[in-house]
Symmetry: C2
Subunit: 435 residues, 2 copies
Amino acid sequence: MIHMAKFSQPPRGTRDFVGEDAELFIDLVSKFTEIARLNDFKPIITPTIEYFDLFAKKSGVEIVQSMYVFRDKAGRNIALRPEATASVIRAYLRNLHKEPKPLNLFYVAQCFRYDEPQRGRYREFWQLGLEIIGDESAAADVNILYTTSEYLNYIGVKHFVQIGNVAFYRSFMDSMGVNSDDQDLVLHYIDKGLFSNAEKLMLEKYGEDASKVLRELYYTDVKRLSELINGYGSLLGERCSKISREVEKTLSFTDALRSIGIDVEYSPSLVRGLAYYTGLIYEVKAEGLDLSIGGGGRYDGLTEVYGGPFEYSTGIALGLDRIMMVLKEKGYVVKALPRVIVIALESSTEIYRAAVSASRTLHSSGIAARVLSEPRVSKALSYASRKGYLYAVIIGRREIETQLVTVKDLMKGEQASLHISELAEYFKQRLLDLL
Amino acid sequence: MIHMAKFSQPPRGTRDFVGEDAELFIDLVSKFTEIARLNDFKPIITPTIEYFDLFAKKSGVEIVQSMYVFRDKAGRNIALRPEATASVIRAYLRNLHKEPKPLNLFYVAQCFRYDEPQRGRYREFWQLGLEIIGDESAAADVNILYTTSEYLNYIGVKHFVQIGNVAFYRSFMDSMGVNSDDQDLVLHYIDKGLFSNAEKLMLEKYGEDASKVLRELYYTDVKRLSELINGYGSLLGERCSKISREVEKTLSFTDALRSIGIDVEYSPSLVRGLAYYTGLIYEVKAEGLDLSIGGGGRYDGLTEVYGGPFEYSTGIALGLDRIMMVLKEKGYVVKALPRVIVIALESSTEIYRAAVSASRTLHSSGIAARVLSEPRVSKALSYASRKGYLYAVIIGRREIETQLVTVKDLMKGEQASLHISELAEYFKQRLLDLL
């Protein structure tokens, strides 16, 4: 028995992925990469650690408070990234600002937040992300969600999208002279389902009208929003046209998504936690899971926060952990390579070389194969069975002399003798439907 | 002009991978995964952060001193992993100890060391690793190096392997009563090319004989080592047979590697920095690079250090950054997907839907395609050219009515009109050699 010493535990809120979980993890990352590429997103890989200030600037109070922050040996304030968008924008400003825009980028990144671990929430979690920089139109947002949806369909996750638009709230609050911190706080309250706190803050600091319009924005569907806005023309002033444009954008966005088969609904109460969102936002839900599997939206102008010129930008981050939850629930099976074990019955150079050569041949046909040096054939076969190999190729002194090897079907127990040169063809025929 | 504010810099010793570098990175990781799988290694993913104690136990003074260590909000001593083998062994004890052995595992992991950044050395660096747990025989080490070599051949890195065996030094020092800390220090000196310090330590603390044998071990090739050992029979006592066994193992290991076409040389001065090595060790060098691109070896019994039962184990870690250096030097080109842009000339739902449908069709043929909503066709084509697209598909109102779309070859400037249903076939024929 193994004593479960402290040493065998990973830090609280982190996990080891082994066996089927690790296979699933890699499969989902590789399929995300494939779909992102097919949609012409380019990869970007940023550091796992960043200067704390990068995130402190514009990630929102909640994230900043739950960050892993420490000083390095030179006294720099370093953070484990709590999300990757800030890093992507930083890297864009440093390396990619001269590229023709729109610029489509994707990433796979582990992120860290020191929250209380709970179902579907870990201290180290994995995000699959898409970002588009330099495109003002809702077409960029559609592109983000189309790519997301193509990915989720590919891996068999039934899903729908909730959308909102924080520009409605922000433009309204701008027109009321609500300062930036209070704006963030109001949106934070709404995000957390604490609308009454938001209403109270508006009432106390900005008066009854402000509180009343906030309530109406909160309860009005986008389709009736233009009407509402026009009624408050004198109150909203020049922001009126900005809000109207955003209403148009939201409606055409919704139409476009529906036209390409994406299930979408507008929710006035959707705002999301990150402080950098400026317009359209979205959350992706999977059928059968009460947690969101991803979210994103417009963060126009985040480039300015980091000292660059203004750029339009939008993006999404999908939670790999949540997607894994959905797929494990469904019993998703990762396609495994067919596996053959090559048993070298002696450790002589000649036999070993023949065994390696056989396994190399199988590799080039896409069959997983490894050499086991084991003089006791029954021991080797028993190991091969327990490990789930489909076939064993047995090579000993006699096999080298005759060039005929024994192939054993470990499921059926049948065996055959064939020439070494016929191995690849033999397995290709038998394992064709597994390749 | 963008002002290179502090914000645009990643922390010292870390990097952004964008453009060709990011493509190369992903290509190399994906090919490593492919070769590891074909050789029947299973994936394992461990956390990026671990308890400090995990590494403090057995990684060696040098690594412990250069670790990123901090306290989390609950006061736990947390480290960014400086290497992944300790984590793999921890995860093995926790999740995999009941699996039939040998157990072959692979990982891809970023690791962190607070060293002075220099050529080929970063504070955040990437390792591609293979581990085999539960196999005493040199066949496991051969398997590790065979898989490594198959990978390096696959990506076109000419390489050779230097091998050594720390068991010679450790067994000899055991027989001389040299304590564990001094053993680690002697090996550390040898690793750093400071043999005279090692010799001096032995002379001062363990006498003239100890110092003399150390020197002979350091200068004697493995082929003449048995002879040397036998001459010191009375001094080495019962360790003599242990060393003789290791000599045999080293010789058969070398033979096996050569028999399968791996270029290998024995170096008595090779010991490597990690304190947990116990026997055969190896370093992989690439033609044309003076830095090692990977290394590993036997770490039998590391399981015991973490509270588990004794297991034989061996493994390697390849430096992805170093491999990238070699390949960039050689002008390695990552095969890119052929790319087509689909231009939607109006933002109407019908045109947009047709454009998305066209791009989806191309995706299923393995062609990267994205939709650009742009009413000005010349602007769209100019963007497409700058972005290096091979073809543009143009869809407007007329195209919807006639079901005939315009396809433009952006390299040749030629264009054709074809039915929407013919698109996939048209591109498959033209892009066949790129797929």
